[in-house]
Amino acid sequence: MSKKQTVMLVRILITAALLVGLNFITLPSELKMALYLAAYLIIGYDILRKAGKGILNGQVFDENFLMAVATIGAIALSTYERSGDYNEAIAVMLFYQVGELFQSYAVGKSRRNITALMDIRPDYANIERNGQLEKVDPDEVAIGSVIVVQPGEKVPIDGTVTEGNSALNTSALTGESLPREVKAGDEVISGCINMTGVLRIQTTKEFGESTVSKILELVEESSSRKSKSENFISKFAKIYTPVICIAALLLAVLPPIGNLLMGNPANWAIWIYNALTFLVISCPCALVVSVPLSFFAGIGGASKEGVLIKGSNYMETLSQTKVVVFDKTGTLTQGVFEVNGIHHNTMEEQKLLEYAALAECSSSHPISKSLQKAYGKEIDRSRVTDIEEISGHGLIAKVDGVEVAAGNAKLMTRLGISYADCHSVGTIIHVAINGEYAGHILISDIEKPNSKAAIAALKKAGVEKTVMLTGDAKRVAEQVAANLGVDEVHSELLPGDKVSEVEKLLAAKSPKAKLAFVGDGINDAPVLGRADIGIAMGAMGSDAAIEAADVVLMDDDPMKIAKGIKISRKCISIVYQNITLALVVKFICLALGIVGRANMWLAIFADVGVTVIAVLNAIRALRVHNL
């Protein structure tokens, strides 16, 4: 509890004691009146002061003003009627303050809960000086410095491991609980927690540019992009308060005048009391507090799961997603090429692979890298001589004195060697040894293990259409699409074509359904921008993706897309629940107020009680782990 809240608690207790005492002790009426007034001032002086300042500064219609008018009105009414009953005015103020205290405590507590969830900011970095570890501010560490991270500490700055082995817990960033093994030479990103061994890390970025800072910045700025519901609330509050004040004034004046005209007693006191009750009911705090809180909790809960949503407006759009468009490479597939099969081979597979890998040893093409990776052993370059590269075809080289030709079908035709075609999709490397066909190696991009389940999960989450766009060959694209269960596929697209395809899809869908584009963020920026909502995945360490997208998935697991959509749905439904609850309760109470059926106690519930319920409901948006 903050100091302000403690002071308020003391004021509440004193007033409550005074109020109870005054109702049991008989005192001369002047003294009693003075004590009532004292109690009123103890509990309400700040409200009166703020209301006064508000009027001076031209901010007339705020809740302080409403409370001040309502309570002063009630006191004036009691004095006028000589009833000497000031309990109601003081009790109303008392309960208003109790409610405010509870509300500020609840909001403060949930705010701290949420920020604690996202507490990934490292406090220090260890630098070794003269054999001693020294803790310094991460901001002061220059690029290229070597920092030491001990077990249990957070990696403060992005960098490369120079010494040590360890397992890193990345769950704060990705929501992924499986630890990641790192060794010397591996890149590590800030925000991970070092679990087992001491690591020495050479920093590659400044703290301000490191992943952890980028993420914090993104989350903290997320509320600057306001959703339609939030804009609705602030507009609503602006119109609502003056309208309510005028309505209350009319309620106080019109019925008594009507009564007078009809020749009945005016009943001024009753109608003024009704108008004051009406004023108290009308405070819009439940809406104003709970809606942004729900969004904040939703965004906080999502970031804990490794889904960064850049603003409440994107939360809203994401929840309405009906069409999901994927980029293929790097999104649904791993984007790394692997040897997937060796066919028609006349010699042992391993031997063929060895010849091909050695022949391609000088090339830096991804294909030759995957050959070398599949071969798995150290490449002894001295065994390879007379390398001749034929651009667009492949190459011919001597391995251990044996002539090896490795390349595509064109190379085989050029050398006049008959070859066997492959019916699988992917890149085919034909190999000929000493002019004799020796078989071919199939290299293809492999699907991510979760891709198929991810598409199914999207369908289950209510996505109506999934589309895959790719620059890849038609045959490859169609096979991948069929394997994964994607509804529609457009292949052989240039980067510019992807934008026009997305535009076509945007035009074809109904305006209420939203279209999301999912890419790896590397060359998708224009498409990410064009879609209703751009989702970039595998963003760890890639600033470009974080910049371009509206939603950033920290790792490259496509299952997170469905999860993100579910989180946004839950959050939005909580927002709507709160809006509905607040409006319905308020309007019922207002209606009761107009017909004179509401008293101050009901009014206080309509104001403070509803706010508290809405705040507690908003906190639910934080719990999204099991969605």
Partner: protein, 72 residues
């Protein structure tokens, strides 16, 4: 230029009012108040001295919400 300031404000509506007030202050290009993280992010217009502008922002905010604080 963009700067972030820590603020203290009790209610969400007051935070909205502060945001409005800051936006209307001369020298401010854009301003956002994040009630949840209790931060104000102010983007200054070209060639404006943040210190002077922030004094005006604080004054404007105090006007709409006497209880608020901005750590300058």
């Amino acid at each position: 230029m963009k700067k972030t300031y820590k603020i203290e404000v009790d209610c969400a509506n007051c935070a909205n009012l502060m945001e409005d007030a800051a936006r209307k202050t001369p020298g401010v290009a854009a301003a956002t108040v994040n009630f949840m993280t209790q931060k104000m992010i102010v983007e200054f217009q070209e060639g404006q001295e943040p210190k002077d502008v922030m004094q005006a922002v604080l004054k404007a905010c105090k006007k709409v919400e006497p209880d608020c604080e901005i750590e300058l």
